[in-house]
Amino acid sequence: MATAKAWVSPSVLPGFGLTLGFAGVFLASIVLIPMAALVIRAGSLPLEELWRIATEPRALASYRLSFGASLIAAGINAVFGFIIAWCLVRYRFPGRRIVDAIIDLPFALPTAVSGIALATVFAPQGWLGQWLTPLGVQVAYTWLGVTVALTLIGLPFVVRTVQPALEEVDRSLEEAAESLGASRAMVFRRVILPTVLPSLATGFTLAFARAIGEYGSVIFIAGNLPMRTEITPLLIIIKLEQYDYLGAAALGLVMLCVSFLMLLTINAINGWRIRRAAGRR
């Protein structure tokens, strides 16, 4: 019993064993065991075989597209998400509450819906496609289309992480800087940006991480040509459909590692933010 005491501090409240036990068993059976199955299955491959599958040309091409498009989309979201968050926090304009509410639409809208909607709108005869095609801009079935889809799903991540940070910016510091003669641009660069930067980085990383794994909103507009417009999650599904379980598991392991890397990055940024907040006080 002495070890139990050291492990959990005593409390008069009941239900610790029950709730932690239930949560633990549920977590293990729904998340941890399936994840272990993937890692062990991929790990059963000899290392050079794993490397060969993970670096075959078709896989490399899919990483290039997935990472490249996700990076561009997260970048677009960082810029426009910041502007939108800025308007929502600093300005009062008609329709502000509606704008605030629809930011979350990509969270609520099933990805297949945005997928078929974008594919139809940007198709060569579609609403926007018919204007873009004569200009020589082909969005549907190219990497551009993939980027558009990934931008849509990543937007709320940036807005919703930057918004609270902007609200926390100390207005009196801005006023002090302005009364001392700093220009608006200087105030922005020296007062506002440093406060918001960690949150912007978190939002960027969240949007990027989500984009890497995204499937539903991309496959309709991507066209899915091998080597050209095939994202990594799609390649995994193609391997599964060919009953190539080991190949799918190998690529799955690569993506799982990327996810963990993103998680670590986000935690590191959070640590940075907390340290800075503590340092300011």
Binding site: A37, I84, P106, P110, T111, A112, A209, Y215
Partner: protein, 280 residues
């Protein structure tokens, strides 16, 4: 750059302001509003009769039923998990708490396709339990259990994620008082804890439900796309779209969009109610 010395402190340049709001609205219109209008206009492009007929085909009705059944299983289970996990994490101090929180968040960062893949590797024909299940004639992958499991994994953190910070913020004094006055564990939970977390709980349930009904990637991997049997609504939209049945695909999509709109409205209402409660 005009270097006006700050005559009026916190001066907002009206041109910049209009420009930035304009850019924001244009961006949102392009990426959010245009797709929404497109779904509605394509769904109703051939009139209301065709729209409702498209929704009444047996396969689409079966897809709607499957989606509802899946959500009816997944959401209550994940809600129970969320409440249990939040109670254990917020009301007690134990070692490994931080690790537990990180593990609960894990499904957020895993691609839905990977989530589905995990269950295929466990229960598929060549999976760990595949031969065992096959010998007993139990179908998990390409059947309802697989769809439920994949959906459960993807929507796993939603309720817990909403509840943990709320319960943590509340502290433990009320519950400790209730218990020391002789209330049992369940009474304490239902009479003391639940009333103060209900809006957060409802919020988590709404988000969990939206994701459960709309999940595509994870379900696509485990479903096998058997029409009328294992296609959920998002998959049915895909099947119809691939068959160039544009009206049918967008009719199903419009129902899912309705779900999204209800989710947003519900979220806004719950937030407002929660805020009013906090002020009171």
């Amino acid at each position: 750059m005009s270097k006006r010395k700050a005559a009026t402190v916190r001066s907002q340049n009206p041109v910049v302001r209009v420009l930035l709001v304009g850019v924001s609205v244009a961006f949102l219109a392009l990426f959010l509003i245009v797709p929404v209008i497109a779904v509605l206009s394509y769904a109703f492009s051939r009139g209301f009769t065709v729209y409702f007929e498209a929704l009444r085909t047996p396969d689409t009705l079966a897809a709607i039923r499957l989606t509802l059944v899946t959500a009816a299983i997944v959401v209550p289970l994940n809600t129970m998990f969320g409440v249990a996990a939040a109670w254990a994490i917020a009301k007690f101090d134990f070692r490994g708490k931080q690790i537990l929180i990180t593990l609960i968040d894990l499904p957020f960062s895993v691609s839905p396709v990977i989530a589905g893949l995990m269950f295929v590797l466990l229960f598929g024909a060549q999976g760990w339990f595949g031969p065992w299940l096959n010998a007993r004639d139990i179908q998990i992958v390409f059947a309802l259990p697989g769809i439920v499991l994949a959906t459960m994994l993807v929507t796993f953190p939603y309720v817990a994620r909403e509840l943990i910070p709320i319960i943590q913020l509340q502290g433990r004094e009320s519950e400790e008082a209730a218990v020391s006055l002789g209330a049992g564990g369940w009474t304490t939970f239902f009479r003391v804890t639940l009333p103060s977390i209900r809006w957060g709980l409802l919020y988590g349930v709404i988000l969990c439900n939206a994701r459960a009904m709309g999940e595509f990637g994870a379900v696509a991997v485990v479903s096998g796309h058997i029409r009328g049997l294992t296609t959920t609504m998002p998959l049915q939209a895909q099947v119809l779209y691939d068959e160039y049945d544009i009206t049918g695909a967008f009719a199903v999509a419009s129902l899912l969009m309705l779900l999204a709109l209800f989710t947003l409205i519900g979220k806004t209402v719950v937030e407002a109610l929660g805020a009013r409660r906090r002020r009171a």
